[in-house]
């Protein structure tokens, strides 16, 4: 249970009222999930950092018109993040790359062999996700990369939770198929 002073809704309300420390806390709270989402969509770390920064600036500028709803503020941050990624794609269609080197695994594994395994799996997974439909990619990234609950994903995509669950299942099945094909190819 989050304490009142770290509750995202309270922080958002305070930020809206002009409390910059509250916005800083939101920043720390949401930066990583937003960054991960963007990174998975654009595949370039530096670009992801810039876009994540842009997202927070956009949210900050729009605080005055932000309306508190039932949803946690993260949903609003994600809406802005999605639009920012779409805008980026519109501007830079050619910048996306299939380069396996763009995937840099953090050294969290215990030994070099494990690191290599994870790296290869991660790279294949990234390629496989990219082969899914746009809608499936969005759901998979939001669910498993940004850790959003189904309710929030449904809210963000204007779908029911049941539909989101169905998309997830189809996406995971398609992902398995893609992974098999890619593994055979490699």
């Amino acid at each position: 249970m989050e304490s009142e002073e770290n509750d995202p809704k309270t922080l958002m309300r305070l930020a809206k009222e002009g409390d910059s420390r509250a916005f800083n806390k939101l920043y720390r709270l949401y930066f990583t999930p937003i960054f991960r989402y963007i990174y998975f969509r654009v595949k370039i770390k530096e670009v992801a950092e810039d876009l994540a920064q842009e997202v927070f600036l956009k949210v900050y500028r729009s605080l005055a018109v932000f309306k508190m709803t039932e949803s946690p503020p993260l949903a609003y941050f994600f809406t802005v993040a999605r639009n920012t990624v779409f805008d980026y794609w519109k501007k830079k269609k050619d910048i996306l790359t299939d380069d396996l080197e763009s995937f840099k695994i953090a050294d969290k594994a215990k030994n070099p062999a494990e690191i290599t395994d994870i790296k290869i799996s991660g790279e294949i997974m990234q390629k496989a996700v990219k082969k899914l439909t746009e809608e499936q990619q969005e759901v998979i990234i939001m669910k498993f990369i940004s850790d959003l609950p189904n309710k929030e994903i449904a809210n963000l995509l204007s779908k029911t939770e049941e539909t989101v669950r169905q998309i997830q299942c189809r996406a995971l099945k398609a992902l398995r198929q893609e992974l098999k094909e890619l593994s055979d190819y490699l």
């Binding site: 002009g18 998975f40 927070f56 018109v65 799996s121 299942c169 995971l172």
Partner: protein, 203 residues
Amino acid sequence: MNTDETKKLYKAMSEAMELKEKGKQLPEILNLFPEHREELEEMFQDIEVLALLKESIEPAEGVFEKIVANKEINRLLRENEAKHFSPLQSIELFSHWLTAKKVYVGIAVIVLIFGVSGFYYQQFQEEIISPIAEKKESGLAANNSADNDLAPKNSVVLKTEETISFKEMESDLTNEINSLSDDLNDFEGFNNDDLLENIETIL
């Protein structure tokens, strides 16, 4: 795999994921769906790889500090702290509010206009018209003492020019009509023959 089988598989996948989210152990979950065991095992493997992938995606060291130190964000934060809302944000907020509450705002504006005009009209009456009327009335009183015969007629004219309430005008006009009627009666009661005789005598 036919449609029914696919539907069953999706149902099993969905339920298995839900159970995992609720904290149930993987072997227990797999035992609950023996007919889809293989597919579910693969699904959870993929989810695990996705989780590892997620953990690997971290912003570069110091990037958060770099962003927090961003000049524009800091400027905005300072402005916001100083003013609570910047003028731009206030305008944005107001325009957003206007758009959201079009009808109510329309009604409120009309009510406001009526309210303000009513208030100013009342003030205008109290502060401008009444003092002038009083002033004129006191001026008229002075004139009346100097010229008693003309006073009633003048007073009607002046009061009509400046003035005042319709009731007063009506009462003045009634008095004037009565006075004219009296004159007319006097004139009608006058002996014309005697007047002619007097004129002839003078001539």
